[in-house]
Symmetry: C2
Subunit: 203 residues, 2 copies
């Protein structure tokens, strides 16, 4: 599923300040043009319907993915779609209603890397990207020999030793800092949940 | 901010299966009545505009909150709004675009408990509730003596020793299991990130 992807939003928000498009221009319940208004007992502008009074909340989205591990190597996917076409990434995508974080991460890994992974709890890396309204959540996961391939949004998949990671060709900053943390944790022999915040300044 | 709150959804989804309301009946971009369709390269029904082709994704929402700790007590809020009116809860609410998880948790604590807390990293408790499309994320946080009170959605706030928690009057299951985990971790003297999934069967 293509949807609005991290880098696309990033490009937009480099020049257009928050709140970013797409906005709710018409009421989802009755089709009337909405107005930007601060509802009673609220402190933020929301798209409000002047006819049926429906309030449209625009909340952050969660991206879920895995670090698929096989022995001393990890699996990366070369992206077959924009943004980041032909760049390398961890298998990840938007969490869907009806699934949990780990379930979504496993589903995305199956879709993008055709791999049925065993997800390792708890959450390994959380990356908040407030200016694009997203939190990216990665789990470590165990991969099976031969049980992977390129999904329909992926050009190819490949196993990389940790000293072979193509740092210059990583598609997303959240993937980069998650991999950097992973390498540090492998080096010291202990994995801990890490929470990063990436603002426009730190990107 | 009232918005769609966990228990409200829970009541709905006890009788109405996923996907739960509200749905996008009209296109947010042009106001045309939408159709339920599986877009190309997708596998799920989405509300799609037959005129401008805009696809409306309905992704899970993140609820953020804290366990505010002062000495050997924690702060709970007695809810002043439905759902769970007059029941006790941890300060929590929907994460907003433009903020990170910890920032949102601190904001909700300020709004509901008038407390400026120091949030403790990393994330303490994650509770997926797939059938209502939500993930609830709680941080431990340090509270200051006297620096709290009832926000406008709160009837009262009170400090509770861990053997005084009003288990029979806790508003939300995610709060209950987070507090249960907290007590277990206090007892063994170590806090670890915990990830729970609550389905209709386990609720």
């Amino acid at each position: 599923m293509a949807q609005w992807t991290p880098t696309f939003y990033s490009f937009l928000t480099m020049t257009i300040p928050y709140p970013s498009p797409p906005t709710v221009l018409f009421c989802s319940q009755c089709g009337t043009a909405t107005e930007q208004r601060i509802p009673p007992d609220d402190s933020r502008l929301r798209a409000v319907c002047p006819v049926c009074q429906h309030i449209h909340y625009d909340n952050p989205k969660t991206v879920v993915g895995t670090i698929p591990v096989l022995g001393d190597k990890i699996l990366l996917c070369k992206r077959g779609i924009e943004p980041g076409y032909a760049m390398w990434t961890l298998p990840a995508g938007f969490m869907e209603c009806g699934e949990g974080l780990a379930q979504g991460a496993a589903r995305e890994t199956l879709e993008e890397a055709l791999a049925t992974v065993e997800v390792i709890e708890p959450v390994y890396s959380l990356v908040d990207i407030p200016h694009i309204g997203q939190t990216h959540v990665f789990f470590r996961a165990n991969l099976q020999e031969g049980d992977f391939g390129a999904g329909h949004e992926t050009l190819e998949v490949a196993l990389f030793a940790l000293d072979e990671i193509p740092w210059d060709d990583i598609a997303f900053n959240s993937v980069r800092i998650t991999l950097q943390a992973f390498l540090a944790d492998v080096a010291r022999g202990e994995f801990v949940t890490r929470h990063h915040v990436r603002t426009l300044d730190s990107m």
